[in-house]
């Protein structure tokens, strides 16, 4: 029978290779799969392209992955925050690439990648520096920029409940990029607060159907990024 449950976060991220493109869920700390990210740091893959809305905070989670020198390129909409020091320093030293994408275009590119839509037009960024070099087309009197779908080798996301088939629910605004990144990655790896049996999620309330999920690991009590930062934690 299908059983996507992994015994540990280490096992869940074991296959991520150097040079992989990795989508990481979360909007700031909300929904950040922090245990999976830390396992990826331990695992050692490098030269990664990471897709996330931000670039992490403090010295934990995504910021720690970047700080460990594992990320060649970030694709994100907002790479700075009051607690984001790691990325700006590397960026100013020219040690990390940045592809800046408006947040809604980022979300739609990920959804398109997952939905088999190779490209689409959007009004966002027309007439701005972020549209430079891109095709602009007029449709019914308005100008639109052509943007391309985004796919990844892996997605790391955090869910609330998961069943052995990989069906997922989320918790509050931790949902954010999880459902669309699960669609867009070849291998989607999920840390769920609770693993339930196959009939444990009502088919009406499944947010991410198991078809988009490959591996699930239960992390019953995930760390909270802001708490770690307050405590002065620096991973590893």
């Amino acid at each position: 029978m299908i059983n996507k449950i992994c015994p540990s976060v280490e096992a869940a991220v074991a296959d991520i290779k150097d040079g992989a493109t990795v989508m990481i869920g979360g909007f700031g700390e909300a929904g950040s799969p922090i245990e999976l990210i830390h396992a990826l740091i331990d695992q050692g893959a490098r030269d990664l392209t990471v897709i996330n809305n931000n670039t992490g905070n403090g010295q934990v989670g995504l910021a720690a992955l970047i700080g460990a020198g594992r990320v060649r390129k970030m694709i994100c909409s907002y790479p700075r925050s009051s607690q984001s020091k790691v990325f700006p320093e590397l960026y100013r030293r020219g040690e990390i690439e940045l592809e800046l994408v408006p947040q809604g275009t980022l979300a739609e590119r990920i959804r398109a990648g997952g939905a088999g839509v190779p490209a689409f037009y959007t009004p966002t960024s027309v007439g701005t520096p972020l549209a430079e070099g891109k095709e602009v087309r007029e449709i019914e009197g308005r100008s639109y920029v052509l943007e391309y779908g985004l796919k990844a080798d892996f997605a790391l996301i955090r869910a609330e409940k998961a069943d052995p088939l990989g069906n997922l629910t989320y918790y509050k605004a931790a949902r954010n990029f999880g459902p669309i990144m699960a669609m867009a990655a070849k291998t989607t790896i999920v840390q769920a607060r609770q693993v339930v049996e196959a009939s444990g999620i009502d088919p009406e309330v499944v947010v991410t159907p198991g078809i988009f999920v490959n591996k699930v690991v239960e992390v019953a009590d995930p760390a909270i990024e802001s708490v770690l930062i307050e405590q002065g934690v620096s991973y590893p």
């Binding site: 997952g114 939905a115 088999g116 069943d163 088919p203 159907p209 078809i211």
Partner: protein, 230 residues
């Protein structure tokens, strides 16, 4: 429908049985209306297949008992189904995101014609008075990586359905991977049709005669062994 059950070669259930053997454990599968629907009855018991239907269900099961049908729980053929543990509902755009995005592993459909380069015609004869209707067929064959076809080898009037070039309006070009007919199993390769297995009672000469394209015949041709129960 054709006279598949009375002539040499596989019966319709046997064609569905043979196709079912090629689905791997854990696969997500979309079955078309007609013979393809019968495939679900013949999947080996040690494999778990999750069925997808265009109208927004993953993980549906067989037809419910008489009197337990729900008009809001149907498949794409508009027939009543049941739910298995781990099922989910989603809207039509998400359903076709699964299809177009390559997440469904196999689709098994019927065909009017299949060409040696994998072109498929299965939605219209192009007759001027026909009401054109396409449904989800074009999306399925464009998006699903393994497009399998189950079809009688010839039409009701005995014309080949496996052709060098399709004459009916196409559903897609270059998409068919494998064809299961009453005569045998054919792979569609870069060099055209390759006979992989032949049905009991069918000869290579019959296949050559009734196929409208070249068929490569391997030296180690296998005969399909259908269990007596099918």
């Amino acid at each position: 429908m054709s006279n598949a059950d009375t002539k040499a070669g596989l019966s319709r259930p046997q064609m569905a049985w043979r196709a079912a053997q090629d689905l791997v454990d854990g696969a997500f599968v979309n079955l078309g209306i007609g013979i393809p629907e019968m495939v679900a009855d013949f999947v080996p018991g040690d494999r778990q297949i999750i069925y997808h239907t265009e109208n927004g269900i993953l993980g549906f099961g067989p037809r419910p008992a008489e009197g337990e049908e729900d008009p809001d729980l149907i498949n794409a053929g508009k027939k009543p189904v049941t739910l298995l543990p781990g099922a989910s509902f989603f809207h039509h755009a998400d359903s076709f995101a699964m299809i177009r995005g390559g997440h469904i592993d196999y689709c098994i459909l019927g065909a009017m014609q299949v060409s040696a380069s994998g072109d498929l015609a299965n939605w219209s004869t192009g007759a001027p008075d026909a009401i054109p209707a396409v449904g989800g067929a074009m999306d399925l064959v464009a998006g699903v990586p393994n497009v399998f076809i189950i079809t009688d080898h010839v039409t009701r009037t005995g014309e080949p359905k496996l052709l060098e070039t399709c004459t009916y309006p196409l559903t897609a070009t270059g998409v068919v991977k494998r064809v299961f007919t009453d005569f045998g199993v054919f792979d569609v390769t870069a060099s055209g049709f390759v006979l992989k297995e032949i049905a009991p009672g069918v000869t290579v000469d019959m296949i050559v005669e009734k196929t409208g394209a070249a068929v490569e015949i391997p030296a180690d041709l296998k005969v399909i062994e259908v269990p007596d129960t099918v």
